[in-house]
Amino acid sequence: MLFKIEARAEPSREMAIAAPLIATGLTVVLSSLFFLSLGYNPAMTLYTFFIEPLTTMNGISEWLLKASPLILIACGLSVGFRANVWNIGAEGQLIMGAIAATGVGLFAPWQESPLLLPSMVVAGVLAGGAWAAIPAFLKDRMNTNEILVTLMLTYVAALILSYLVHGPWRDPDGFNFPQTALLPYNGMFEVFDYSYRLNTSIFFTIAVVVITWLFTERSFMGYKMSVGGVAPAAARFAGFNASTSVWIGLLASGAAAGLAGVMEATGPLGQLSPQISPGYGFAAIIVAFIGRLHAFGIVLGGLLLSLLYLGGEAVQMSLGLPSSIALIFQGLLLFFLLASNFLVNFRIRRTDVRTR
C-alpha cells in the first residue's frame, strides 16, 4: 500500500474550513502532552488555559479587549499579504501610533475639547501610516526589501518609545517609573461598564473588518492586488500597477496598526509605557494566516489568539508556568495551520501497488 499526493483541481472548500480546526486540535493535543511532561494534569491545565478565562464576565471583556487590536492589525496586514507585500513591522507602527496619540492627548492645547479623542485617533492613524510609508517609499523607489525595513524600524520605534518614557515624557509624579502621566479623561475611550475594561474602541475594529471585507472581496482595486500577489506576471500584462499595491498594502496595515496603538494607549492602559504591546504586531501575522487572509476568518483567528494570551496569563498566575508558553503555542498553532493548509490544495490517496 502506498500513498500518493495529488494536486486538487481547485482548492477544497471543506478543507479550507477544516484546516484551522485540525490545526487547533493538534495544538491542543500537543500542548496537553507538553503539560503532562512538565508534571501537570493536562485536563486541569487545558481547562485553566482555554475554558476558565471565559467563565466570567470580566474574562469575556478581557477576551474581546485583546482580540480587538489583533483583529484590527491582521485586517490591515491581510490587504498587503494578499498582494505579496510583507509588512512584518506592525509592532513598530503600533508603537508609533500610541506615541502620537499620547503626545496629542498630553500636550495638545485643546485639552478640554470634546475633539481631543478624535484628534488623538487621527494622529495615531497618521503616525502608523507614516511609519509604514518609509518602507513603502523605499520598496517602490529604491527596490528595498520591505520585510527587513519594516522589521528594523520596529526596533527603532521601540527605542524612540524607550527614550520618551525614560526621558522627556516621563511622568514627574510617577515615582520614577518609565511611563507618562495618565491621559485626561476625555482623551480615553469610554468603557461599557465600570467593572470591566472593554471600551467603545471595539466599534472601530468592527468597522475595519467590514471595510476590509468590502475592499478585498468586492472592490476592483482589491481584486487587482490579489492578482498581483498570486500571478505577478499576469498582473503586469493586465497593466495593474505593482507600486500601487506596495503603497496600499503598507499604508493600510500601518494605519490599522497605528489605530491599534491608539486603542491600547487610550483604552486599558491610559498612558504610554514600554509595555504598550504584548507583541500584538507579531501575533497579528498569525491571526491573518489563521483567517486565511479573509476578514471574517480573521475575526475567528483573533478570538483564538486572544484566548491564547488570556490562557497564558491564567496558567502563569494559577499554576506558575512561564509566560513564554503562550509564544510556544502561537508558533505551534501557526506550524500546524500551515501544514494542514496542504490538505486544501492537495489530496492524499492510497494506491494499491498491484494495480500499477
Partner: protein, 306 residues
C-alpha cells in the same frame, strides 16, 4: 592607536555571530529556499547552549547542543516549506516566533547567571607581538572557526560538484530535477546547515560574547543576518565585509555611549538598525548587481512533476 586596536578587535568579535548565521543562510538561499526564522534558530542555539553548559557538560558539547538545536529548529521549517510546500515567508515567521518562545522557556532558570565564557587563545610568541598580536592572535577559537567556515562555504559552493548542484537547484529546480538531482533532499540538507550555523551563532552570543542568557538576547541579529545576505548580493566574501561593517557599527555605538556623547543612548542604539536600512537601500538600488548571483527560484515551493 590603543583605541583603534581595541575597537578593531571588538569589531571582529561582534561580527562573528553574524558571520555564522549569514553564511548559513547564504547556503540556504543559494538552494532556492528563504528561511526567515534565523532569529528563532539563533535564540534556540543560545538557550540550549547555556542549558548544556549549566548541566555541567564541557564547552565543546554545549556548542554541539546549540548546533543540534539550531538544526532541529530548522527541520520544523524544512518539513513545512519543503514537504508541505507552504508559503516560506509564513513558515519562517512561525519559526521565529516559536524559537523565541522555546528559548525563553528553556532559558527561564538561567537568567543573569554568568557563564564561564570560552577563553581567548594565547598563542606562544604570536599573541605577544605588540599591536599585531592583539589585532590578530588573541581571539577565542570560534572567531577563527568563522573564517574556516567562510573558506569551507566558498570552496563548497564554487569548487565542488555538490556545490554546483546546490546552485543549479537554486536557479532552476525543474531542470535540476530533470537531470536527476534530488531537489528536496538537497534543500533539506541546506536548510539544516543554515539552522546549525544559526545555532552556533546564537551560542557564540550566550557562551562567549555576552556571556549569559537573557531573553531575546539576539536583539534582531537574526534579521540583520538576513539583511547581510541581501547586502552580500549572494556572494560569500561580501557576507564577511557586511558583518564587519555591522560589527563596527555596534562597537562605535557602544564606544559613543562609553565616552558619554551628549546624545540619548537610545539614539546610538538605533544606529545599527538604521545603518542596516541605509546599506540595504544603497545596495538594492543597483538592480543589475542584485540579480547577478540571485538564486532565481528563491522562495518558490518546488513539487517534482511526474
Amino acid at each position: 592607536m590603543d583605541l583603534f586596536v581595541s575597537m578593531f578587535a571588538a569589531t571582529i568579535i561582534a561580527a562573528t555571530p553574524l558571520i555564522f548565521a549569514a553564511l548559513g543562510e547564504l547556503v540556504v538561499e543559494k538552494s532556492g529556499v528563504l528561511n526567515l526564522g534565523i532569529e528563532g534558530m539563533m535564540l534556540a542555539g543560545a538557550a540550549f547552549g547555556v542549558w548544556a553548559h549549566f548541566a555541567g557538560l564541557p564547552m565543546i558539547v554545549a556548542l554541539a547542543a546549540a548546533i543540534l538545536a539550531g538544526a532541529a529548529a530548522s527541520l520544523l521549517f524544512g518539513v513545512l516549506a519543503l514537504t508541505f510546500m507552504t508559503n516560506q515567508y509564513a513558515a519562517g515567521l512561525a519559526l521565529a516566533i516559536f524559537g523565541t518562545g522555546v528559548s525563553a522557556f528553556i532559558g527561564r532558570g538561567f537568567g543573569s547567571t554568568p557563564v564561564e565564557a570560552i577563553k581567548p587563545m594565547n598563542l606562544p610568541w604570536l599573541s605577544d607581538i605588540p599591536i599585531i598580536g592583539e589585532m590578530f592572535f588573541r581571539y577565542d577559537p570560534l572567531v577563527y572557526f568563522a573564517f574556516v567556515m567562510f573558506g569551507v562555504v566558498s570552496w563548497f559552493l564554487y569548487r565542488t560538484k555538490s556545490g554546483l548542484a546546490l546552485r543549479a537547484i537554486g536557479e532552476s529546480p525543474d531542470s535540476a530535477h530533470a537531470i536527476g538531482f534530488e531537489v528536496i533532499r538537497i534543500r533539506y540538507l541546506a536548510v539544516m546547515f543554515g539552522g546549525a550555523m544559526a545555532g552556533l551563532g546564537g551560542a557564540y552570543l550566550s557562551l562567549v560574547y555576552t556571556p549569559l542568557w537573557v531573553e531575546n538576547m539576539t536583539a534582531g541579529r537574526g534579521w540583520i543576518a538576513l539583511a547581510l545576505v541581501v547586502f552580500s548580493a549572494w556572494r560569500p566574501m561580501r557576507v564577511i565585509l557586511g558583518a564587519w561593517l555591522f560589527g563596527g557599527m555596534t562597537i562605535l555605538q557602544l564606544q559613543g555611549q562609553a565616552i558619554g556623547l551628549s546624545v540619548p543612548s537610545e539614539f546610538l542604539s538605533a544606529l545599527p538598525y538604521l545603518a542596516t536600512i541605509a546599506v540595504l537601500v544603497l545596495i538594492s538600488r543597483n538592480r543589475q548587481a542584485m540579480t547577478l548571483d540571485f538564486p532565481v527560484s528563491l522562495g518558490k515551493p518546488f513539487r517534482p512533476k511526474g
